[in-house]
Assembly symmetry: C2
């Protein structure tokens, strides 16, 4: 029993082999996923825990058990696979984020979100890089060049706001939710783009021309990725509207939506763009157009299927990170100099805290200056929440760290091992400790009073919560529901919305006059008797 199991574990990355060994590990993994879901459900009402931490802890425990069973021999329990993460696990999470986001809130706070997500990440990266340059020289870690320092900055600027989003409520605190959520996505994309830019540019000879190229490259990636996502989304809407008109087939529609979403991600990778941004915008466009062109069954199915895939992928990642954390070989080097490793991890954690504080409070101040209504301003408690919400570091950091510190091969084994273990330490510590404190902190900072919820009243989509009880389990991704098959004049809603949002109003006009007639969308596709819901609501009217 002892030896086979450990040798089994070493092979989980070879998922494709039909070896009995890998079958055992897949069984273990799927069973653990089930356990995480059930335990996560049981702990749902718990004050501190959430699903991510549960998965991480279960992963760690499993790692310990396997380590004990194998008598400490298994040095490669599970190797974190960057590709598994970036090709299979991340796309459904980000796509679902775009698909389920409340677009109105997101676009209203677009500038603030971009400030936090893009500029904030750059600030954070700069501070961490600078700090690391200063502090790491005093530690006996090894030699880094400027590219390494900047890469460390990018690695530890990638937040993982999954924990926080499980705690924040989209309906109770719409502004905060959209800020934290939007920032999380943009931040992921920014870190990855930044990381790739750092790796591909020779930064040892920095001059203005290279710096300019670097910035240009950065913006090109941003815009091109967004465009590709929007294009793929519109294409899916157009194809489904044109081809499926009149004779819908739920399975084909759902399959086409899934495949097109994945295609957008892979196309971005093909053109060396940011797949994260692409698939995020593809999700937004799909929920705005494509989703309205399909039958009611397809809508329910896509909504929940995407959410489920994203949910499973998240748990998978945390379980994976937890199990991977106990790879003995990496820790061996650290065992020789525990002080160095602890110092490095502490410095990194400290820099993460400082780097995030620096941009959250300064950019909030900037953002508040531009706003007139006190309701739209971000108050101090909310700023603290935003700061805290982005302190967790997760799988993106892990994946980037593996990429940076294993590609130079085994020439710098000790340095690499220390950096990887420090990353694992920061990820585990921030997720577990900061994560556990999130629920109490949010309850302390944002008690369930109306002063938070009241912010929702400035949002014209707020009446939604009054109309939705009829369609309870479904959150409309469009901010307005109740009559999606009845074309309504939007003038009343325009009057309700604050006059300052001129861009939004022009967009609505353009959307109604050109986009929706071509690509479909709420109110612009004829009624399709495809499902019980639509049938019954139709007969009711």
């Amino acid at each position: 029993m002892v030896f086979p199991l450990s040798s089994v574990m070493a092979r989980l990355e070879m998922l494709y082999t039909s070896d009995h060994a890998s079958v055992v590990s897949m069984n273990l993994f799927v069973a653990l996923l089930c356990a995480c879901i059930v335990i996560g459900h049981l702990l749902e009402e718990h004050r501190w825990m959430n699903e991510s931490i549960t998965a991480l802890v279960i992963g760690l425990c499993t790692g310990v058990v396997i380590l004990l069973i194998s008598g400490g021999k298994s040095s490669h329990l599970l190797v974190f696979s960057e590709d598994l993460f970036f090709i299979y696990l991340l796309p459904p999470i980000i796509f679902n984020a775009g698909f389920q986001v409340k677009k109105k809130q997101f676009f209203r706070n677009f500038i603030t979100i971009m400030l936090f997500g893009a500029v904030g990440t750059l600030i954070s990266c700069g501070i961490i890089s600078l700090g690391v340059t200063q502090f790491f020289k005093r530690l006996d870690i090894g030699s880094f060049d400027i590219g390494d320092y900047l890469a460390i900055g990018a690695i530890f600027s990638a937040t993982d706001s999954v924990c926080t989003l499980q705690v924040l409520n989209q309906d109770e605190t719409p502004l905060l939710y959209s800020l934290v959520f939007g920032e999380g996505v943009v931040n992921d994309a920014t870190s990855v783009v930044l990381f790739n830019a750092i790796q591909s540019f020779d930064l040892t000879h920095l001059n203005p021309r290279i710096a300019l190229q670097f910035i240009g490259n950065f913006f090109y990636l941003f815009l091109a990725s967004t465009f590709l996502g929007v294009f793929t989304g519109l294409l899916s809407a157009y194809v489904i509207k044109k081809l499926y008109f009149g004779r819908h087939s739920t399975d084909r529609e759902v399959a086409l939506m899934m495949l097109m979403a994945y295609l957008s991600y892979m196309l971005a990778e093909l053109f060396y763009l940011s797949g994260i941004l692409t698939v995020f915008f593809c999700g937004i466009v799909m929920s705005h157009y494509t989703w309205h062109n399909v039958t009611e069954s397809s809508r329910v199915t896509t909504k929940h299927a995407f959410a489920t895939l994203s949910f499973v992928a998240e748990i998978f990642i945390f379980l994976y990170v937890g199990m991977d954390a106990l790879d003995i070989e990496k820790w061996r080097f650290v065992g020789d100099s525990p002080g160095t490793s602890i110092a490095a991890s502490s410095i990194l954690l400290g820099l993460v805290l400082v780097g995030r504080a620096a941009f959250v409070f300064s950019l909030s101040f900037l953002s508040n200056l531009a706003k007139k209504s006190p309701n739209d301003k971000i108050n101090f408690k909310q700023q603290v929440t935003i700061w805290w919400a982005g302190l967790m570091r997760g799988a993106v950091s892990m994946a980037l760290a593996y990429n940076q510190f294993t590609r130079s091969g085994h020439t710098q084994l000790r340095t690499n091992a220390i950096m990887i273990t420090s990353t694992i330490t920061v990820v585990l510590f921030s997720t577990v400790v900061f994560g556990l404190l999130t629920k109490p902190l949010i309850w302390f900072l944002l008690p369930q009073t109306k002063h938070v919820t009241s912010m929702a009243f400035s949002d014209p989509s707020a009446p939604k919560s009054v109309t939705t009880p009829l369609l309870e389990t479904r959150q409309d991704s469009d901010g307005d529901f109740g009559g999606h098959d009845v074309p309504r004049p939007t003038s009343l809603r325009m009057l309700l919305s604050t006059p300052s949002h001129t861009v939004h109003r022009y967009w609505r006009k353009f959307d109604d006059a050109f986009m929706r007639p071509v690509f479909g969308g709420r109110g612009f596709v004829p009624f399709v008797p495809g499902s019980p819901t639509e049938r019954s609501t139709h007969q009711w009217q």
Copy 2:
């Protein structure tokens, strides 16, 4: 452009590598999948075509294009991966089959289905093995032992009834559909079990003891696999009923159902059982119990998500088989002796035709003897349809052939290459030619008159088609709908059902008295206001 693309293609099997090469091939593959869905939809009304053939043809064309672009150099365009097929593509197809099957029809015809599926496959395997033993000796192919001959029998007994099922209609010809469908699943399982048994037993020294062990092993696999599937299904029903009671969460429910279904397959592989049978029975149990314990959104989602996954996996397989068919290296050996290869393929095709005819007509005769009502008997035209419906050979045959003829390594290169190319030829020919003739043949044999549909009248679930218009797009997998949240006395339905089905009646009693109260099921879980459908129908009553 010329060289990179060919080198790219050679690496599609390395799906995990993030090489740009594999990104290109994944893009190509996902785009082709989308194309297959769209073209399949456009050709839906076409007289001859169906989605499988479309995918196969598109795959072949893509193979040709790549071959031309690479100047005939690319010898390994795409290598068919047995593991990809058995671990990722087959489980969703078979699970969905169990999940969507009309259980009443299936269990009514259980004995006939088992006759066709198990005994018929054995007969077919025997005939093909015998024929191959006789005919292949005269061809200059190479030396086979008795294990090889039996393996060839098993390989070419595995039918692929996907094509036919796309043509047959579950509502119009319920008896035929359930026979062809049920036989297809049992046949897949039987072939795989048989194949594994042949490989693991040393059949060169056949004696009664080994033969008895062989038969015992076969039955053990059958029963143990079924039990495991039923157990996992019931476990999922129990867990969801107990834990989720009162506070449902669609995403968790859907995730748990998916993971448990997959777990059943992997557990079967773990215990060296037949995953196909296990996951099929898990699907049946899940649709009978678990499916009724979840919210309405979860029901719609699981129903369509499973169907979509299965649909995509099917297209994937056909595309894959089509693209794999043009691997030059295999065909090189054949080029030296085209006559031998054509002769081998023709012999195999002929044996497939004869082997299937032998058991379909004889077993139909046996089955008809046992039935009293003329409506339940299988008439000659239906027998011909059943015979034809199982002539196609598909991915299971390919996978088994690869397993048998590549594992002996490169010691018998020529023999292996001829057998693999013959398998490809049989698969392509039977799928395309027989497949194209299926629609016309079925229209010829079974014109859309009432004499076929009338058989449905003996089925108490027939009134369903009267109640369903309200809930149009959903096919109830339980044969009775319209009031799934209202516990109804079943006495009326029992009176309606033919009195001869005593087993079924006792099962219903046991089900109502013990199984449903414990595991949930239609009418035995309290009403859960989880979705618009249930809300509105509830308010209507």
